[in-house]
Symmetry: C2
């Protein structure tokens, strides 16, 4: 006999991309590959004070085990915040604290997916969600998108003709990887369709509060009449990712399952991290902090897009995100962003090649750029380098 | 259509026990039900200082995303500690940081178990492991045990006659729930058998360092010649559980799979928690801290066992753990600990009924007692109350 892994492990192999991204970690590389917030904006001084206060006020409780559902005052703060920002009408009992919103993705897979079940998602979609779901061996159907997100006619066509769809995964606000946002009408139409077919929806909303322009739109969860929408939120993008504090907001029927899953998966989120995040919200103005982030990210988005405008060769398209962290670049269809990435790395600049964002593969003439993590001057320099490499590849092709 | 959960959710229902345990949370209840460390021994003052130092020295890194494998200096400290305490020969590259060791249990299930695969475990075994594995729908075979843990002849008989055994889950040191420890000879025999059959072993070791008497024994991992043993460790019992920092130590072939799983499950453990635990080990003497814990827990174990000796009626057996957190009580076979628990709750004392520790069920005349969490006087008072209830049940039966 020899060690035999579960079948699912065949689908979770070391990806080409993962290996590639390791090369972007060298300090000389200007990396637009990650999805990291700007570290210089983290409230380091405030958290020094907060951790002292939490340990002073409740040291033994903060270092002990606590409930699987999470710290009740934090769950209350989150419910209140969602009701204000996402136009929902939820209470702390609808909230489970998770290790970042990524854990909610894993739990959704665990709760809903048997082998061979079908997941619908936007095409392209978030690579981390695709990988989390893959552990449960579903099939993916990618719903076509346009500049306003998922196309509702296409969604309906698929729902009408497909058996065994167990859940639909969407990012309506500043999508990862495209930066696109669904307009209000499309959200309404989506919920109309969902209520008809009664399929659970994972609404992943890590960036919703980071809107630089345009009007804030109600979440799908706020239009959820039948308890079908599972809203995933996180403090990683509006506060700091280092604490790994996110949440799942869902109807009791679904949340109770997620709580059992959490119990088996790791008992509970960090007690002290939950109390520290909660105390920060108590003592500081998180809205004001988010305002500061938005100011910086908007400037960086503008810098990136402006520099792309002057430095990229003709024939390349990219999105204009109204918020969030990413823009999405589409090259002429004959170009392969994995090949170009090799040359980028030689020039110490990096992005994530687009192919991995399509769960069923096949589209390689695109890539994702992050603008939140690099300082202004590195954004300009990085886009210039990238422009040079792209020019070479466009020219090479023309000469063949 | 209506919401359809995955088949695994049928096995993860609200347990009777879970509901029962909620009743033990009232402050007036003397609860021996949990597995909580003594909060008054947590290094609260030290952690106040540590969190300031970590944020001073590396605030922006501590609050940012970091690698899935974990903070390299902490992984090094763990490897060094394991080599000293558990007699292994491992390096930081063999270590993955997890959210407590519970997460390693979930990952083991995910890595090895397809539906219907077989898991071997001690009978009884840790309820949290059973529940973590259940999410992957295996069958359990309970290997009979005696006062020295798993019986090797029984193990061999099962291995000889059973197909499709994917992993073996064991707690050789101060087992949960029985408090029993495998002697050296049995460990050697176990590894001999394992090397022959080449089946992955989960060695769960949350309590190993908490030995009050007898000689420390080498871990199974230290005798692992073929990379079959997956060692799960945690800081929850020797430091504090509130940070949720544990680890998995395994051969590259297995650890690489766990790393992919971690990436999909929640990206990484808390950056700041990892740095704080690491800094504590740097600046303080964790061994000295563990000595203090052992002193208190040994006294509480003695108090509990001595009080049981005088207060429990005749005909009840219980283990004498050489370390760890639990003792295991066996009642005459006609008694049901779930029924007795109802009367215990009326008298504000609680334990965990034993049935849930048997994955295939069927044995109800036993229960688990924890002695680490309650202060000395509450241990004496609680055992007295428990003794009263037990006497009533023994007498009732005799009168029938």
């Amino acid at each position: 006999m020899a060690i035999k892994f579960a079948k699912r492990m065949e689908d979770l192999k070391a990806s080409e991309i993962r290996e590639l991204l390791k090369l972007t970690e060298k300090p000389e590389v200007i990396s637009f590959a990650g999805g990291l917030p700007a570290p210089e904006l983290f409230p380091v001084e405030e958290m020094k004070e907060i951790s002292k206060i939490v340990l002073d006020e409740s040291g033994t409780q903060a270092l002990q085990y606590s409930t699987t559902e999470g710290f009740p005052p934090l769950r209350e703060q989150i419910a209140k915040r969602m009701n204000s920002k996402n136009k929902t009408n939820v209470t702390k009992d609808d909230i489970l604290i998770t290790n970042g919103s990524q854990q909610g993705l894993d739990f959704a897979g665990k709760a809903f997916l048997d082998e061979g079940d079908i997941v619908l998602c936007e095409s392209p979609s978030y690579i981390g969600a695709i990988n989390a779901f893959k552990a449960y061996r579903p099939k993916f159907i990618e719903v076509p998108t346009d500049k306003n997100g998922m196309i509702m006619e296409e969604l309906e066509k698929i729902l009408e003709t497909t058996e065994n769809i167990k859940m639909i995964y969407v990012i309506p606000d500043f999508q990862n990887p495209t930066g696109r946002t669904w307009p209000l009408e499309r959200r309404k139409k989506f919920m109309e369709i969902i209520n008809k077919y009664e399929i659970p929806v994972i609404e992943d909303n890590p960036y919703g509060e980071l809107r630089f322009e345009g009007e804030s739109l109600p979440s799908l969860k706020s239009m959820d009449k039948k308890g079908l929408v599972i809203f995933l939120g996180t403090f990683s993008k509006i506060f700091c990712p280092g604490y790994r504090i996110g949440w799942t907001c869902a109807s009791q029927k679904i949340l109770s399952k997620f709580i059992f899953i959490k119990q088996g998966a790791d008992l509970q989120a960090s007690t002290i991290s939950q109390r520290e995040v909660s105390k920060f919200i108590d003592l500081y103005d998180l809205d004001k902090h988010v305002e500061k982030l938005k100011e910086v990210y908007e400037r960086r988005r503008d810098l990136m897009l402006e520099t792309m405008k002057t430095e990229f060769p003709e024939g390349i398209e990219y999105t204009h995100p109204e918020g969030g962290l990413f823009t999405w670049v589409e090259l002429p269809s004959h170009l392969d962003s994995r090949v170009i990435m090799q040359d980028c790395l030689k020039n110490d600049v990096a992005y994530v090649p687009g192919g991995s964002f399509f769960p069923n593969g096949g589209k390689e003439n695109c890539f994702r750029l992050n603008y939140s993590n690099m300082p202004d001057n590195r954004i300009i320099e990085g886009i210039k380098r990238l422009g040079e490499v792209l020019k070479q590849h466009m020219i090479v092709k023309e000469n063949i």
